[in-house]
Symmetry: C2
Subunit: 444 residues, 2 copies
């Protein structure tokens, strides 16, 4: 383990560190170091944390060549292992992508620091002053896939919110991640903060990942970032509290009171603008009195390459409208449950707003749903009764995003109800503490 760098500090380097050890002892050492680092970071001033972030952005740009070289190793191995072209694209870093990574880190530095915000308080009749203050969660575990930009992104959000982080990225990106994490560690050290505020698990075995999910002793919260498979594995295996992110079986319901232009525009956008993401529409529900728009809308979708999976009633309307039968697939129960993340759309006819709401509350992953309507009362009822993190009237579900919501950056989108729901920014990475100022009060 290298114990010195050009500046003479004692950062434990991660790159080339095959000798760090593995399994429980390794994780325990990371955990203990994180807790220790957090005890300083958690009380650090915004100025100091911002300094570390700006230094990290500088370092990332200055060491671009080294990052690209490490990334090339990952890409070579990925190509050799037969990784799909689209996954290779997610893994790939370029000078432009590194610029955008640096810009992201600088943006986080520019956001307001949530730590220390006074949320509530007052003075009790006995004179006790109670002040409810935002404080960091503590040690965050972030588990993600082969996207090295998440390393920079997660590290920046954690530093800004005063949380030490232990990162576990996909093994396919390990070389890229090591360099990026190390540059953050160097920047932390330069800023006068403990470098162990950011740690990367370099033992990328599945066994170690599974043990990491049970590191309750040191880790306060686990946040998985990635596809279903990853999130389900974390939820199932973890004993550390998890914030579930991501899964989005999103619905749009076209009410009987609609305006065709709005419907077309929103549906095409929600399905095709970026079909692989969690806030894309997966099921379209159409009121029977809006069935007349189906043929037009489905032709537009077909032109955009969307595969259509329809129930019998929609199928009937489309065929009567002259829609080519060979372009239709019959939907079954599993389609209502599926988040395709692809150019596929399930379509179902409903008889009422009630039926639409019931379908959504039954099949949705409670992420984002929209109603398209000109009827005030239907809009109001949909907003009140649909049980999802984000409920829209006359807008694309694609807006469920920290940036679009004005949070500046997000660590993920929660579709659970505990702690955080919807896009999670810096505030969602905090908890509270009550500070109580007395002068000798006792309870009678």
């Amino acid at each position: 383990m290298a114990d010195n760098d050009s500046s003479g500090s004692k950062i434990r380097y991660l790159f080339g560190a095959g000798d760090i050890g593995e399994g429980n002892a390794y994780l325990n050492s990371l955990g203990a170091a994180a807790v220790k680092a957090e005890s300083i970071l958690g009380c650090a001033s915004s100025a100091l944390k911002n300094r570390a972030l700006l230094l990290a952005a500088e370092r990332l740009k200055a060491e671009e060549e080294r990052i690209l070289a490490a990334n090339a190793l990952d890409l070579d191995a990925a190509a050799e292992a037969g990784m799909s072209v689209s996954l290779q694209d997610r893994l790939r870093l370029t000078p432009a992508r590194i610029d955008s990574m640096c810009e992201g880190v600088r943006q986080v530095a520019s956001l307001p620091d949530p730590v220390g915000d006074v949320l509530d308080g007052g003075t009790r009749p006995n004179g006790l002053q109670i002040v409810k203050v935002r404080v960091p969660l503590g040690v965050l575990g972030i588990i993600y896939e082969a996207r090295p930009n998440v390393t920079a992104d997660a590290a920046a959000l954690c530093i800004k919110s005063g949380n030490a982080c232990i990162l576990r990225g996909g093994k396919e990106a390990i070389n890229s991640n090591k360099v990026i994490a190390d540059l953050f560690r160097i920047a932390l050290d330069e800023a006068g903060l403990p470098f162990d505020c950011v740690q990367l698990i370099t033992d990328t075995s599945r066994e170690t990942a599974a043990e990491f999910m049970k590191l309750d002793k040191y880790v306060d919260v686990l946040i998985p970032r990635g596809g279903h498979g990853l999130i389900n594995a974390v939820v199932k295996n973890a004993t550390v509290p998890v914030i579930r992110t991501g899964a989005g079986n999103c619905h749009i319901y076209v009410d009987e009171h609609f305006v065709l232009d709005k419907v077309e525009k929103i549906i095409i956008n929600a399905k095709t603008q970026r079909p692989s993401v969690c806030n894309a529409m997966e099921t379209l529900l159409v009121h029977r009195n809006a069935a007349c728009l189906l043929t037009k809308v489905c032709r537009d979708l077909l032109e955009k390459g969307v595969e259509l999976r329809v129930d019998n009633r929609c199928g009937g309307v489309l065929l009567s409208g002259g829609f080519p039968m060979e372009k239709l697939v019959k939907a079954d129960e599993s389609d209502w449950e599926t988040e395709y993340n692809d150019l596929i759309l399930a379509i179902k006819m409903v008889d009422s707003l009630d039926e639409a709401i019931e379908h959504i509350n039954r099949y949705s992953t409670h992420h984002s749903e929209a109603i398209i309507t000109e009827n005030y009362n239907h809009a109001r009822e949909f907003l009140a009764r649909v049980d999802s993190a984000c409920v829209y009237v006359n807008a694309s579900t694609r807006f469920t995003d920290g940036g679009e919501f004005g949070m500046g950056a997000e660590i993920g989108i929660s579709n659970q109800k505990l702690h955080a729901r919807g896009p999670m920014g810096l505030k969602e990475l905090t908890t509270v503490k009550y500070m109580i100022y007395g002068n000798g009060q006792i309870r009678e």
Copy 2:
């Protein structure tokens, strides 16, 4: 199963309902009924919910005789089973206790309704109006011990916060609980709300309790209320998200800058005013320069019947001060970790504020801790660095309580960091939803 009552409604009665079924099918039926009831309760007006609560309070008082008769059955069985006198006391209901139960329900009715509060929001540059609104969590599972008043308490808080609840009380209180839960169900029905907003698990087997903790499909959050054993069992077995409550290994640190009167008053109060509760002090840390107060304070504690478990240094000071040796027990590592919930106090000498903070952060259950000091900077540092839900300066830890904090009522005290920390009132039984008002916005 009785399907009618004097008013002709169709409430499924719980008392005498041996034929309800058991195991999974039973729990699934409760779960499905809760979700259905919640879809109405979650959108119900405050006026309607308050009406149900006031009717419940009336019913509880009107049916006092029936409650006492059921409670007598429980008490007889408990006495026969050899239950300890103190547990029997917790199980016992009296006319005065029923009055106080009714008063509690009426108090909850008088509290502000958190549901619908607008917490945040704004209009984005594209014209989307985003409104962050408080909504109920959904279906709450409450698991508790043999205290029938918790049935009324939990049911009232859940109704007010728009959450359907499934209650699982200790089997020793089953007869009392059935009557109390039924009176709530009748009141809900009378108010025009679904009676299944409040359900009680009448199959009190351990197997059913264990299955209840895995009822993810229907239950949004589990809240255990009771001792360590119960809470640990729930945390360990549950797959439903849990809010941990209760465990309180609370510390008071006497700084070197102290005023004796304040110290004595606070220490005696925090240890002896009600030693069985979670916010009572369990370990006293004394700065070496405050050792001179030990003999006086320990004599006071001894007089109150407190057993003293001391480290060597404190023992030395006490013996030199003429304290009777036979009244001292040598503390070991396990004492620093123990929540006695009894008239026992561990005492340790420390050399610095730093050492006190480190001891607390290591051994505490992160519930409530206090510093007694006249030094401004020490107070500030203690507040910032001690990682607990409630951190006090110059006051007894006994104030950690929803009522004392002005919340009006509490469902428990959380010592976890996710979702809620410290006393949990009605607001802590809610989550949020984003309502987004557009007029055709799509994402570019």
